[in-house]
């Protein structure tokens, strides 16, 4: 459904008048004189980017585990144990299966009394109820920014926004192939999708570690409204 637009004409006409011209309806894409963002980590190899990501994780209070497809179930289990197990909520995402996590999630966890809830687009209220009480939320990064230590998450009917915000602990799986130098590459990728006419996710989260605040006496508190602890698990998917 198309939304309503109200009182646009006079508002924009006034702006044009203040700028001393008639309203503009067309504009070519600007060419910029400066483009400093392209130089950052320009020549870094994928392995160098992983090193930068590891270092940055120390600055953003995030635990990072370097794993591969063979050891991923074991490594994920370790982190879940460290976070006290109990209950896990995940996206409904075929990639968990592709990464060899089916046995762990669907067999081992129930046996170990770890409750697993998979996001279900048919059950809106249950999703929020489960996300609110889950101890751990597990998501997957679409693109990962080495410079800032940032995972990019796209929402969809199977990938609820709340999973990376409501549980106390957040685990984000980072396929090594998704690692790029910085936000520049992610922004270009998304911009390109838009130019191609693709519908972008209604919510795109650039997540950099757990939530935090320095609002009280400038003292850093890790863990405010979002997760209190966060772990990235990098898997070699290439």
């Amino acid at each position: 459904m198309t939304g309503m637009i109200q009182r646009r004409e006079t508002f924009l006409a006034n702006i044009a008048k203040q700028l001393g011209r008639s309203p503009k309806t067309e504009l070519p894409r600007p060419t910029w004189q400066y483009q400093p963002q392209d130089r950052v980590l320009k020549d870094a190899t994928k392995d160098e980017l992983v090193e930068i990501l590891i270092k940055q994780c120390a600055n953003i209070h995030t635990n990072i585990v370097i794993s591969n497809t063979a050891t991923l179930p074991e490594d994920l289990q370790d982190v879940v144990d460290k976070y006290g197990g109990q209950s896990v909520i995940t996206w409904k995402d075929k990639r968990f299966q592709d990464y060899g996590l089916s046995a762990l999630m669907n067999e081992q966890w129930p046996q170990a009394n770890i409750q697993l809830y998979e996001w279900d687009s048919q059950q809106p209220e249950e999703n929020i109820r489960q996300a609110e009480k889950a101890n751990i939320g597990v998501t997957i990064s679409e693109m990962t920014l080495a410079e800032s230590g940032t995972a990019v998450l796209f929402s969809s009917k199977d990938r609820g926004r709340s999973i990376s915000f409501l549980p106390e602990k957040s685990i984000i799986i980072i396929p090594k192939s998704t690692i790029v130098p910085r936000m520049t590459q992610a922004a270009r990728w998304i911009s390109e999708k838009i130019r191609q006419g693709e519908k972008i996710a209604s919510c795109i989260n650039f997540v950099t570690g757990p939530s935090n605040s320095a609002d009280i006496e400038m003292i850093l508190i890790v863990g405010v409204h979002g997760p209190i602890q966060a772990t990235y698990i990098v898997i070699d998917d290439q």
Binding site: R8, F11, R39, S121, I128, F165, C203, D215, H225, P227
Partner: protein
Amino acid sequence: MAMKTSDDRFQQRVTKELDNQFMRRAVSSAQERFQTRRLQQAEELGHWEEWRSHGEEIRKHVLANLDYYLYQLSENVAKRGGHVFFAQTAQEATDYIQSIAKKKNAAKIVKSKSMVTEEINLNTALEALGCEVIETDLGEYILQVADHEPPSHIVAPALHKNKEQIRDVFKEKQGYSQTEKPEELALYVREKLRQEYLTADIGITGCNFAIAESGSITLVTNEGNADLVTALPKTQITVMGMERIVPTFEEMEVLVSLLTRSAVGQKLTSYITTLTGVKDEEDTDGPEEFHLVIVDNGRSAILGSEFQPILQCIRCAACVNACPVYRHVGGHTYGSIYSGPVGVVLSPLLGGYDDFKELPYASTLCGACTDACPVKIPLHQLIHRHRQVIVENEGKAPISEKLLMKAFGLGASSPTLYKMATKIAAPAMSPFTKNKTISKGPGPLKAWTEARDFPAPSKDSFRDWMKHRTKGGGQ
């Protein structure tokens, strides 16, 4: 809270705030930390001047073509099912938002931090309808519980309060029984607000940058509150100052990189979120209804005027953190929700000279703000221009600059400013320093250094050097 935060006269505010010892210590220590982190991040990033120039060219381009980009933005928001309301005045904005609250029978509204909603006095308008309005940013929540105290810093609104005072506020108002440890206070607020997000009828946010090409809005936070405010309630209202817009994701990225470094010295904050329209049909979280309210409220009058560059502002508060006057008097002295150099320029433009004519005199015109600005707003020149306009209109200055500087402790009798300015000079210059000479100076040094190298400031100021010398060898 409207623009204006105090009915006291300017001189009374200065005297009162200069007596607030905790505030003054907190402010100077905060300024130092913000500044150090910003400079570290700028240096680590490299080519900072080029980044600033890019930020500046983006902002200038957007302002010169603002009608085009707002048109594109509104079309794209509507395509994704969102409603757009263009509000010429604060009243039009609050009337519209009130009408939504009524339609939704809203009892509870959660909000994430937004300066423009403060500017248009939105909370009062919603409370007048009987809605409960809850601020969710930790600092803003503290101030709200403390009987709606005004913010004293654009980025760290509760900077003037210490943890014991915060503990007492929660104890007195809500029966809080734990200690003053910041972690305990934060955990208490986390649990308290969790229930509010889950039961609120409407979520209200500000907007760091709207993206014209997609109709998205970008929110920059560390606490995660904005994400819960937009993921859980069924209706989302976003209020944006009309100039807070970029052409595409690519420019958003550049400005966010400048904003997070300049505001808090982080490469990125914990959460940068772009939200586009209403949730998709089968999504189970996110808003079913989305309203974008685009506010003019005096901004268009600045367009095309000599003050237009202030609309480049991305609200990072780097100028606030660099200002020697803010350091001495703190945020409340300005009597406006916008404090520091940006507040000095913006408050008289949006709120009128009648209420804010003294503010342009709350400046030494030292230019530290201009050098700190990530989008190169010539702040001290705009402040100076305000003074000229005021004198042209009134025939005289409303306040004696000399007396004011003395009150701030910045007169010749006090070495404070001198000490601070010289101490800041060495680290501030370091990105441009090679072999103890400056080859590419920022701001006022630029023209000079284009022709020759300028000797770098010594790491020891002359006064420090004298002190050590006297201590070491003189006695």
